[in-house]
Symmetry: C3
Subunit: 347 residues, 3 copies
């Protein structure tokens, strides 16, 4: 793909400084960029590369001020990283040409398959499953009976979607993710053995959801485990039965959400966080990595940290004193000694 | 499936109040139930739905006292949730009809396959493997050489059981679980590189064990990694080599158990817990989520929390003071100031 | 495999005490060993078994002093466990005979396959992929387009390596591991939705790397996520995009490393550890299990613990005071009371 600086500037709705006719052939990090590369600066730490880079064009912020001469053309925009992401997206049309069905694959007679789909070898599409237009199903994928995968979604190799689940439009599901496994429900019987609670519900992913590699999302006992539109989930995340996650929330790797908990919209959740079951987390909550959230959060837009989680800044102060606890204890001992001496003197 | 309230009441060994002839067609949550639904109340929080639900029958506790008129028939039992679980189980005979072998599949000539099995497409059954009667093997499952899967077990899509392992009767293993991968053993050599310790043992699951999606259970270096009967393990749990887990223990998601540790019977272990290696955990221990257990636990039936884990209630008290540490430090400073002033005045 | 004690002693470069002609047929743990077994003692805890074991030969340290008569032949070496590991390795030539291609498998015409390889049924080898000599690819493995797997590597069932990645010589990758899934990168747009940042880079594993079951290693946004030679990674570990892990480092299960972080050489990292992104960890660092590392570590060879992690020994002291916090608070209250009384008396 070859396009000119001028064309890119128009595409990005930017202001161009430099020769509009320079050819751009690929995107690159500014510190590694060579001729033909389009790069970007979004962070002041990287600003000094502007004067030495061999990139042919750099996307910079509107208020960027050059301190020396820059050889590359500049494309000024409001959000350089967002603009560069759009550049990457145009260069990365990797899966557009993936069309057709590889053999052997297993597609049940009753399944319906849309147009312009790709179905990789060794994929399994169950009874009455519905695969929408432009869906890309890589090898080794399992789509259970009565499951729906809507238009434009990508299921990478070895994704498993159990029976009766629903994957919305334009979702991306990475390898090894399991959607619709049984919720972890057992009843203790009088003889102290556990009886499995059948999990009759399903999982619903709304549109534009991304699920990371080897994450697991359990089906509801009854009803649905739901992930609302635009939410992004990283690798190795556990979502238990009957959980509901709001729209446009991001959840980093290895976090676990226990059964029936509801997470709000626009939340930002760090890695290795744990949520107990049956709680509600307010919209726009930010949870720091490794926190353990043990109670509902009702206030919107606050930051939380620690196990059990409390106010983020307060927790940093507690952590800071924690490191110093042995000294604190010594200081207390010192005071106690002084007291004892006083008492001895007074008596 | 259509049955009458009367038949259900007999099946559940309950006491019926209402019309025995009403037809029941499906189970449902009480807040969502419509005509023909059988539902339950096990928690006082949900009791108020009894007066407004459209369910045709409700399973309630023997000591349930109605405060208003209830339209639905009542089936009184000792443990309503246990009874309802049995209802779900009868409605959920989803896999009973799954019989036969889909093609293509790979079954080694020397493997033995029982009667009434299901073997999904793309499944692989290795040399001398033995698959018992009524075993359901979903697509993409791997059963290694010399591995045994006993009667009535279900292996969901993409379960992997390495060579020489043993899966007992009536086990349920969810998608992506790995049984029998190599234990993590390496010896540091004089040149500071690591030499792999071959892992020659296996994994043994006794009967009625459930393993969650994407959990991993490593084979022993020599001997067996063992999970005793009736134990239930959630998703993304790590069980290292030579671990032994007792009977009727439950382990929530993302917990990790290091090598050679032994967990007792009837333990309840929360999510994201970590156990160091080579320790013993007494029967009936309860470990709170996110704890780090660093020493053997010898007392039966106690609760533990924190990293490193100690007595549950004591740890809650410590956590409570922790939140207040900056204030504690201020109070100490205040006392120190008073002292300094006293000393200054005295001198 | 049958060999004599004398042959083993020579192979291990040991000093033999006993009959060189005794036949050895298998390795075993000393407490379980029977006739024909070769065993070892590396730990004083197990020394007492030397006098009762039925093993035919025991590998012991050069400075081992028998306190009673021992029936078994002794092979004295510098590092008994290392020597025993070599014994296990010779008895465990399980995969040497695995050669050939099982059907059905999918190998793209443009892929190149070396000599003496094994390619299990249902494996998928993409366009222009290169599989080196003696590579063992178990069933259900996915090797994406343009990916290289070098000589002697083993990919266990259901390993997934996305397009354009590189696996070095003699690597071992366990079932369910995902290599090359998209990094978790999204840009927040003015309308508060997230735009996916295409992940154009790849993953590079150098030689002799081991990756545990169901671990995930994301491809770089641009450039490579790199794991240097000899490094061993346990199960369910998350390695984010653009991470670089040094040589001969070991990482225990369920640890997570956030984007662009660099881990040094010869580090030892416990289980369930979390690293924030964009930090550097010095060579030979030791990080205790469940720690949360929030800042770069510049000093070589130190030990760390806690969340946020600080000096290991200091953190143990803080943890010890933590358990006692309620008592500490009581002591402080006591002093405050005394003060109030003093003031009351003085006024």
């Amino acid at each position: 793909m070859q396009t000119t600086v001028g064309e890119w500037s128009i595409y990005l709705n930017g202001n161009l400084e430099g020769d509009a006719n320079i050819l751009l052939t690929h995107p690159a990090k500014i510190e590694e960029a060579g001729q033909g590369a389009i790069s970007f600066i979004a962070n002041k730490k990287y600003q000094h590369f502007a004067y030495t880079t061999r990139a042919s064009a750099i996307i910079v912020a509107n208020d960027f001020v050059a301190e020396k001469e820059i050889k590359a053309a500049l494309i000024r925009v409001e959000q350089p990283y967002l603009a560069f992401t759009k550049v990457l997206g145009r260069f990365n049309r990797l899966f557009d040409d993936l069309i057709g069905t590889e053999e052997p694959s297993f597609i049940h007679d009753s399944a319906s398959i849309g147009s312009d789909t790709y179905i990789g070898a060794f994929s399994y599409i169950g009874k009455n499953a519905k695969i929408g237009d432009n869906v890309k199903i890589f090898p080794h994928v399992f789509v259970g009976d009565n499951t729906i995968v809507e238009e434009g979604s990508i299921l990478f190799p070895d994704v498993k979607v159990y029976r009766g689940c629903s994957i919305g439009k334009s979702c991306v599901i990475h390898s090894g993710a399991v959607i619709g496994s049984d919720g972890f429900g057992f009843v203790l019987q009088p003889d102290r053995t556990y009886l499995k609670v059948p999990q009759l519900g399903n999982v619903v992913l709304e549109e534009d959801v991304e699920i990371g590699a080897n994450s697991t999302i359990d089906r509801a006992t009854m009803g649905s485990t739901i992930i609302h539109k635009g939410t992004k989930i990283d690798n190795l995340v556990q979502v238990a039965h009957n959980v509901e996650i709001g729209a446009h929330t991001v959840i980093a790797a290895q976090t676990g959400i226990s059964g029936s908990t509801r997470i709000g919209n626009h939340c930002i959740i760090g890695g290795q966080v744990g949520f107990v079951g049956h709680i509600d987390i307010a919209d726009e909550s930010r949870i720091n990595a490794q926190s353990g959230v043990s109670k509902s959060i009702k206030d919107l837009g606050k930051s939380w940290n620690g196990t059990p989680a409390f106010d983020y800044l307060a927790s940093l102060r507690s952590q800071s004193v924690f490191r110093n606890l042995p000294v604190l204890e010594k200081r207390l001992e010192q005071l106690e000694k002084i007291f004892k001496n006083q008492e001895a003197n007074h008596s």
